[in-house]
């Protein structure tokens, strides 16, 4: 799989060239355009792996259930993927390791990578902010997207990141969900709510903007909906 990131950083799109027989797994709804010979299959789990149990696990988590698998029928195929919100993308090479990715930041990966949707490390307390997490395992390339810019933070010791700003982090890091301020009252009045305290050695990739904050910033100017 050959990846080119186009028009970085504001309105990034990923152009993938798939060789014959290669399969790319992408987030539902990410396809912008593709060559005519591309086959698409929609499943609830990584193709040929996992199965019903994993799908059930994700359903209980209240997550989007579907992944699209793109395979060129004959010869090479071209695939262009994009996101809804403006922002950057990054590629990541997994070498038999594990990367925890915020659900909305996952764009696509090579077939050799196992997408585990059932990762419950942050538990339901964070799902309250409608964030879910994926555990990507295996060997191959991954493309992640962000709302705004992406910047890596090398953690050696302790570091605190707002949960809405996390794109991905190495599984080698330990973490706890905690309050941002010294008291619960201050944390919530300050609008920070819950933050993630990382501990250990590894990298956290952060996005410059929090999609949920953006949504609430627009909220008061939008027309009311019925339900």
């Amino acid at each position: 799989m050959d990846i080119t990131l186009l028009h970085r950083p504001g309105n990034t799109a990923a152009r993938l060239t798939l060789a014959a027989g290669e399969t790319c797994t992408a987030e539902a709804g990410a396809m912008i355009a593709m060559s005519g010979n591309m086959d698409i299959e929609t499943t609830t789990h990584q193709k040929g792996k996992g199965g019903l149990l994993k799908a059930m696990k994700r359903m209980l988590g209240g997550e989007s259930l579907f992944l699209n698998h793109f395979t060129p029928k004959d010869g090479e195929g071209d695939l262009i993927l994009g996101t809804t919100l403006a922002g950057d993308m990054m590629t990541f090479n997994l070498d038999n390791e594990s990367l925890i990715v915020q659900g909305g930041s996952f764009l696509c990966c090579e077939h050799g990578i196992d997408v585990d949707m059932g990762w419950q490390g942050f538990k339901s307390i964070v799902s309250g902010e409608s964030i879910f997490w994926l555990n990507l395992k295996g060997k191959g390339q991954v493309v992640l997207s962000s709302f705004g810019a992406i910047y890596p933070v090398e953690v050696d010791g302790e570091y605190i990141v707002d949960t809405g700003h996390i794109v991905a982090f190495n599984e080698t890091l330990d973490f706890t969900i905690t309050k941002a301020g010294s008291s619960w009252l201050h944390s919530f009045l300050g609008g920070e709510g819950l933050v993630c305290k990382f501990r250990g050695k590894g990298t956290v990739w952060c996005q410059s903007h929090n999609p949920v904050s953006f949504g609430w910033a627009l909220s008061s100017g939008l027309k009311a909906r019925k339900a």
């Binding site: 080119t4 186009l6 028009h7 970085r8 504001g10 309105n11 990034t12 799109a13 152009r15 987030e27 539902a28 709804g29 990410a30 396809m31 912008i32 355009a33 593709m34 060559s35 005519g36 010979n37 591309m38 086959d39 698409i40 299959e41 929609t42 989007s64 259930l65 579907f66 699209n68 262009i80 994009g82 996101t83 809804t84 919100l85 403006a86 949504g215 609430w216 627009l218 909220s219 008061s220 939008l222 027309k223 009311a224 909906r225 019925k226 339900a227």
Partner: protein, 339 residues
């Protein structure tokens, strides 16, 4: 101030040699190989505007290895100098290669119409995220602009509002009015800012036809007709966009905008585009709206219906979709109180 030059490239390569050179050329200028090949076919063509002598020397040496020579043209014209990008150390650092039609091949550069451009002189700044178009309308000439898109203009420019494309334009969700900007008693500048932040494309029409998605129209020359075209019920209904397309035909400049960045695709055979990401396409391409895979994919893939283009031509697509953003925003809408 140091002297600046426009760099024009020349070569006498045959088709096979061009494809070979294009690969290296693409690497050198960090553009796609197809673009490089198109550019090479267009030679002699200006590939870099407002370059310093030192920079020109570096580009020259690099291109010589590919059998391409360059010539330098001193920059006289003020517009081109103003558009000169900050000097970069080496040619590898993304120079703006331009096609004769006035398209910048890669990101971030200001597009300035070449001196031999047959239409109005123009420049597009702020690409690719926040494009802004400035057109120099020659004296006693006219420019058509999408209603409410004008941002700045000279005082000698007079605006007239015309109804265009008849009532059907109302149905496209666009304004049925197009503003005409007449430059009185000399040339006048008009600045046009499209509604959505994104990239902007330019095509010089010479009797050919371009179809635009209904909100993509920005501006055009006086001899370009903007018509509304009924797509047919099935195509329109399932595309989720609009039952109508804009058909631009005639002779002159045509500018169109995108929401998000723009990708130009040369279709030869078949290409599939999400209906929300189509910006424009050339006439002669067949298209049909169909579901993306099996029925399971139709409902759950998040792609729904797609547009399948076939034949030979060009399609311009945008990397973001307005409809997709609206869907994303929906949960944040306040809930209406009952009663």
């Amino acid at each position: 101030m140091t002297a600046l030059f426009n760099i024009r490239m020349h070569h006498s390569l045959d088709a096979a040699q061009i494809s070979e050179a294009a690969v290296h050329f693409a690497k050198l200028f960090k553009i796609e190989p197809e673009k490089a090949e198109q550019l090479l076919h267009k030679a002699p063509v200006v590939i870099r505007k407002g370059a310093s002598e030192e920079m020109a020397g570096k580009i020259g040496t690099a291109l010589q290895k590919l059998g391409i020579t360059i010539s330098l043209e001193p920059v006289a014209d003020a517009a081109a100098t103003a558009a000169a990008p900050a000097p970069v150390a080496a040619p590898e650092a993304t120079p703006e290669a331009e096609q004769s039609a006035g398209h910048a091949v890669n990101d971030g550069g200001t597009v300035v119409s070449p001196p031999d451009h047959p239409g109005y002189p123009f420049r597009i700044e702020g690409r690719p995220d926040f494009s802004f178009l400035t057109v120099m309308v020659p004296g006693e000439q006219m420019l058509k602009v999408e209603a409410s898109a004008m941002a700045t203009m000279d005082t000698n420019v007079e605006m007239k509002t015309k109804m265009r494309g008849g009532l059907s334009r109302l149905l496209t969700g666009e304004s049925i009015f197009i503003n005409e900007f007449h430059a009185r008693g000399g040339a006048g500048e008009v600045g046009v800012a499209p509604g959505a932040p994104g990239d902007m494309g330019h095509v010089y029409l010479d009797g050919n036809v371009i179809y635009l998605q209904n909100s993509a129209f920005v501006a055009c020359g006086p001899k370009v007709e903007i018509e509304t075209k009924w797509q047919g019920l099935t195509k329109g209904f399932f595309s989720g966009e609009s039952l109508f397309l804009i058909r631009a035909v005639g002779q002159g400049d045509l500018w169109f905008n995108t929401y998000g960045a723009m990708i130009e695709i040369d279709v030869d055979g078949e290409y599939v585009v999400d209906t929300g990401n189509i910006v424009a396409f050339t006439e002669g391409l067949e298209y049909k709206v169909s579901k993306v895979g099996g029925y399971k994919s139709l409902f759950f893939s998040g792609e729904g219906f797609v547009c399948r283009f076939s034949g030979k031509g060009k399609v311009w697509i945008q990397t973001r979709g307005v409809q997709a953003l609206l869907t994303w925003v929906h949960p944040f809408r306040p809930v209406k109180k009952r009663g």
